[in-house]
């Protein structure tokens, strides 16, 4: 390549990148740096830019004594655990069914998947109605002669209600990923298992599960990350209540920043969220060698 051609390519490279790069700097890179700085500052928004005070690791120390933060963290872990386990299990069952010869496969796939495209706000509205005092779920329970709780205001049932909403939305997504993985399992493996006289369960346990483990791995990572960020259903349905029983990190961050205007503390908590996601992902990358087959 001549020097001129190389210079032209370099120039083209920068020019093609430029529009996106400007936006990257303005809306991602600078905010990231600014947010890091705020995480170590104390700042009430109402005091203006001059009111920013360096606070060292003060924000992170405050978290330990902040019951809302501690409960948010615990609730986040509870939500994530159940939402991920149930979404994956439901998604796998649906994918296994769709992977067989059955009637109406295309329609069924659409039915399983459609909740995924519905917005969290709309789903929350539906759940609010379904779970209201005289809603269908309460009526069903009354049929069994049991007095139903006020689901979303009951410390015992509010969190399961939020979890069920998340599972309903995400199960179809897991189904889709699992289905793609199942279709990639070579038929010969099952035929070999047939020759060995393996039972259906043995085939599932020793052929299917190991062969789709990369999909499971991908799903655990993406679903854990998205579950950690749960916000809309909590903000709309329970406002973290009753008490603090359904409060989660993003909701606590939202309240701290936009209702109490404590921008520094909110930023610090946002970075804790990042650190959690990061650590969980790293641990899974490390652990995958033991159970994921490529």
């Amino acid at each position: 390549m001549t020097g001129l051609a190389r210079r032209k390519e370099t120039l083209a490279g920068y020019l093609f990148l430029l529009p996106n790069f400007l936006g990257f700097v303005a809306f991602i890179a600078i905010p990231v740096v600014f947010s890091l700085y705020l995480a170590f500052s104390r700042w009430d928004l109402l005091s203006g830019a001059a009111g920013i005070r360096w606070n060292g690791i003060g924000n992170f120390i405050d978290m330990v004594d902040d019951p809302w933060f501690v409960d948010s963290l615990v609730n986040n872990i509870v939500y994530t655990f159940f939402a991920v386990v149930f979404s994956l299990a439901a998604g796998l069952v649906m994918a296994l069914v769709l992977n067989r010869k059955i009637y109406g496969r295309g329609v069924l796939r659409t039915m399983y998947f459609v909740p995924y495209v519905v917005s969290m706000v709309a789903i929350s509205a539906i759940w609010m109605a379904l779970l209201s005092r005289y809603g269908p779920v309460s009526e069903l329970v009354r049929r069994f002669g049991v007095d139903p709780p006020v689901w979303l205001m009951d410390p015992l049932f509010a969190m399961p209600a939020i979890i069920s909403l998340g599972v309903w939305k995400q199960a179809g997504y897991c189904m889709l990923i699992y289905l793609a993985a199942l279709q990639g399992v070579p038929k010969e493996l099952y035929e070999a298992a047939d020759v060995d006289g393996g039972s259906a369960w043995a085939k599932f346990r020793h052929v299917t599960l190991p062969m789709i483990s990369p999909a499971t791995f991908l799903l655990v990572i993406t679903q854990v990350i998205s579950s950690f960020k749960v916000f809309a259903p909590v903000q709309i349905l329970t406002q973290g209540g009753p008490g603090r029983s359904t409060t989660v990190l993003v909701y606590h961050i939202y309240r701290t920043a936009y209702q109490n205007y404590r921008m520094g503390y909110a930023s610090a908590m946002a970075w804790v969220l990042f650190a959690l996601i990061f650590i969980v992902t790293i641990i899974q990358w490390q652990g995958q060698k033991r159970w994921v087959n490529y």
Binding site: E9, T10, A12, G13, F16, L17, N20, G23, F24, A26, I28, A29, I30, P31, V32, F34, S35, V97, L98, R100, I102, Y103, G104, V107, L108, T110, M111, Y112, P115, V117, V118, S119, V121, A122, I123, A125, I126, W127, A129, L130, S132, G135, P136, Q170, A171, Y173, L176, I177, Q223, F228, F231, A232, I236, Y254, A257, Y258, M263, S267, A270, F274
Partner: protein
């Protein structure tokens, strides 16, 4: 013969069970549609009457021509979603061409910087963006939603992956013929990437359309609200008048369902290949 019958029976039974599961999955949506066409009294009749005694289209009129301008929320959502998605596809595919097909100093380091920020949750960016937008005077305008919507690293990443899979011979022979990079991008790469572009388009459309946190935080003038935040106004206003809330929910969901059903193949493709975003 008997064997075949048995298999047929088995397939039928499994299909039936699968159908029951499918009905269970769409039941909340069917209930929503049914409730949206009922009178308030009928909404909570039990056992559920799936087909309303009299269909009340008035619920929709009340939503669309009532206290809040639902039509305006619609236009806002269409404007914000389409501008950010188009801007995203355009700037992402340009940047992706640069990352995938051109050599220049600093390219790999820059791409690494892009990748590094991909794991940062958007919640980290909400506070600084809020402050930035306030200083630029674009807080409480649609730009506060459109601009962050354009610069989504994920789009660059996905397009780059796809462009890398396109053989270089195609563009090299075009260079021999004296074509510039803009021509190659527009005439060779983009047409080849059409399926990937459509997938990204549909997936991003659905994500942007459903976006809730950004408009919630960056907007406070009701006339500027997009549908998800607009929805919450209805929920506050109508409180327990669920037939109206469900009519609003149906109206909010309809475009997304339509886009999904129309481009299902591409949407599924996009979701499966991207995999990365929950």
């Amino acid at each position: 013969m008997k064997h075949r019958h048995q298999r047929l029976l088995r397939t039928s039974v499994i299909s039936l069970l699968a159908g029951v599961v499918g009905l269970f999955m769409i039941m909340p949506l069917v209930w929503m549609i049914s409730a949206s066409l009922k009178s308030e009294v009928e909404v909570f009749q039990y056992p559920i009457r799936w087909i309303p005694r009299t269909i009340r289209w008035e619920n929709y009129r009340e939503v669309w021509a009532g206290v809040y301008p639902f039509g305006v929320f619609y236009l806002n959502s269409i404007k914000v979603t389409s501008l950010s998605v188009i801007g995203m596809l355009l700037t992402s595919s340009l940047a992706a061409y640069s990352f995938a097909k051109l050599k220049f100093p600093g390219r790999d380091q820059l791409f690494l910087a892009y990748l590094a920020t991909m794991m940062i949750p958007p919640q980290v960016l909400l506070v600084p963006r809020f402050l930035l937008f306030r200083n630029f005077g674009i807080l409480n305008t649609h730009w506060a939603l459109i601009l962050p919507g354009i610069f989504v690293i994920f789009g660059v990443f996905l397009m780059r992956q796809f462009f890398t899979s396109i053989p270089n011979e195609l563009s090299e022979s075009a260079i021999m013929d004296g074509a510039g990079h803009l021509t190659i991008w527009a005439r060779i790469i983009m047409p080849l990437a059409k399926p990937a572009l459509v997938s990204l388009l549909i997936v991003s459309f659905v994500w942007r359309w459903n976006e809730y946190e950004e408009p919630l935080i960056f907007l406070n003038t009701k006339e500027l609200f997009t549908i998800p935040v607009g929805m919450t106004l209805f929920m506050d206003e109508f409180e327990t008048r669920y037939s109206l809330i469900m009519a609003a929910a149906v109206s909010a969901i309809l475009p997304v369902i339509a886009v999904f059903l129309a481009g299902q193949r591409f949407f599924v493709q996009g979701v499966v290949t991207s995999g990365l975003k929950g």
